[in-house]
Amino acid sequence: MSDCFINGIASISAQPTTDPGTFLEELISYKEPIFRCHDPNYKDYIKPAAMRRMSKSVKMGVTTASMALKDSGVEMPDAIITGTGMGCKQDSEKFLENILHNDEQFLTPTLFIQSTHNTVGGQVALGLGCKAYNVTYVQGAASFETSVMDAQLMLSEESGKNILVGGIDEIAKNSTLLHKLDGQIKNDDIDLIDLLDSNTLGTVASEGATFMVLGAKTDKSLANIVDVETISEATPNEIKADIEKFVFRQGLSLDDIDAVVLGNNGDVKYDNYYKNLQSSIFSNIEQLCYKHLIGDYYVASSFGFWLACKIFETNQIPSVLKVNDVTAKNHNNVLLYNQYLGKNHSIALLQRC
């Protein structure tokens, strides 16, 4: 528990989530199991000369970082913390393929330079001239949450800081395709909106970025991040107990939770982690899902943070998010839970401020 408020947030996803003043009113439909994000006009945020060298991750990251900073009114953050499951996969893949196809010959440094996981964090720092603390977490589906935990820890060590925290993951042509071979991605086309009831193995893959500015409470504060926890591996029933403990630790009971935001991704093999909760401790709570709108990727759960902020801001719940019949009177406490392949579970509690 700490004084950790979201004072600015921006998210690029497969839906037009960067358009101001909208909240999932107009949805883009997708049919293929791998689809890219809906691009904002990157030129509004990045100079053309710089953009030519930038990979998708860097473009998405630099743009959402800049949007979140603007939203918060903070010009220079006191730390930059990024999370990514796969890092700059496109450039890594191209460099790897060049090595393998050309027997380690005729290589150029640019792809290698841009392939490291901390490229986005480094590029955001470089763009801002920010010499402060800078770390990148790479922990699968918990990459974003471990970044938030570091920021939260930092604010408990020294209040008054403004911390830029972001999650970024991009699709890479062939590496993402490999996830069809090992069952992570569905083989057949599916209407994205029907993802949650697909009853087949695997999910659908997309990409996106979310950046937030965290700090002490201001008149711009959108939400309070009460607490975040990650759990590397656990069974569905262990997770149930962990979530109860997590809520009690905040001095709350499950009755105090107004809505849960869940990471169901339509993978019949692993959605039981959510269903086990939906039919028990969450059965009387309003349940919201979002991966049938944006697909799944390692930092997709960052979209849940964006959703909670939007709910607090607009006092609206787009009906497309609702997966049960319970409707909360007010939305003051929103609990997020996500996992991928039964690993890298994350629990977070966001509170209206």
Partner: protein, 398 residues
Amino acid sequence: MNKGIAITGMGIISSIGNTVEENLNALKSVSPGISRIEMLKTRHSDQIMVGEIKKTNNVLEEELGLEPLHSFSRTAMIGTIAAKEALQDAQISDINKYRTGFISGTSVGGMDTTEKYYLGYNEIEDYRRFIQAQHAGFTTQSISNYLGIHGYVSTISTACSSAANAIMLGARMIQAGKIDRMIVGGTDALSKFTINGFGTLMILSDSECTPFDDNRKGLNLGEAAAFLVLESDAIVEKENKKVLGRVAGWANANDAFHQTASSSDGEGAYLAMNKALKVANMTAKDIDYVNAHGTATPNNDLSEGVAMTRIFGEENIPVFSSTKAFTGHTLAAAGSVEAVYSLLSLKENLIFPNLNFKTKMKEFSLVPQTELVAKEVKTILSNSFGFGGNCSTLIFTK
């Protein structure tokens, strides 16, 4: 002075030894581990010198008792060996007796398996269990699952400062009471990806690297894993544990100069060292020895040297050395490898030498310690810098 966080165990595997004891013996007998590459097939084998662990993957599998179909990537296997030794050293048998977490730094993760199987995934089903090894967190979880740690597990990837940042985060989390015990460190195996990547940057030396020498030609890549056990003082007191040393200072800053190159004024390195001294509540005069990043690239050693003169004053630089000529530059693991060496320095009261140094650099009068020397050492400052402008400094005390 900040009392710091207790270190109660350490483990390491590198090109100079498979255990802490073997590493110490090699350092004491000045036996570097730089050779031609043998375990990894690359067309550059005659052009570069590396710090390679002379064990095949099959041997590593056997040592860990892994079935071939459940084997890990090389990065995960050497990581597991080092982490296991650290736990044994700390005499931990029941890993979950206290809230225990695991933080590993890695830059290549499972890249060694990816590059081996990438072109075969379509045809060969047995390979496909390594598809997930493409994300670095998978490597970390191979290790944490082996150790039985299932709660807080994270991976830091800030290139060559990753393990230093892992140690820093563990210390901060224990200090804040978020967790009781944290296994921290880093692991990176040699891979074609990094050999060719650093090759395209033209910073690989074709002979033994010469840190801080005016004629330095570049770095030798190395592979290694090293982990420390950090424990709260409550555990240390309750279980009357031996303490190897303490992490008393830490800081991370960004050079914000270039994606891969360091600035000529060493601003990021300066900020990291300066802040670490503040966290440790020390002044530059308190430092007895600096274990430098000293990769032997023209750019790093100049930038780091300038930063050291700014911190200590050119005339008052403490004894310093880079141990990279023993192990090669072990990338994400470097910070924890050098943390182990720092703890050995504290314990043995020895300064391990900066090998292959002959000529002072033109830009300043800095001369590293070139021979093994006995010296009372109480505080050590250790630097790790990486791509993305990431600069980290740790301070270890007795």
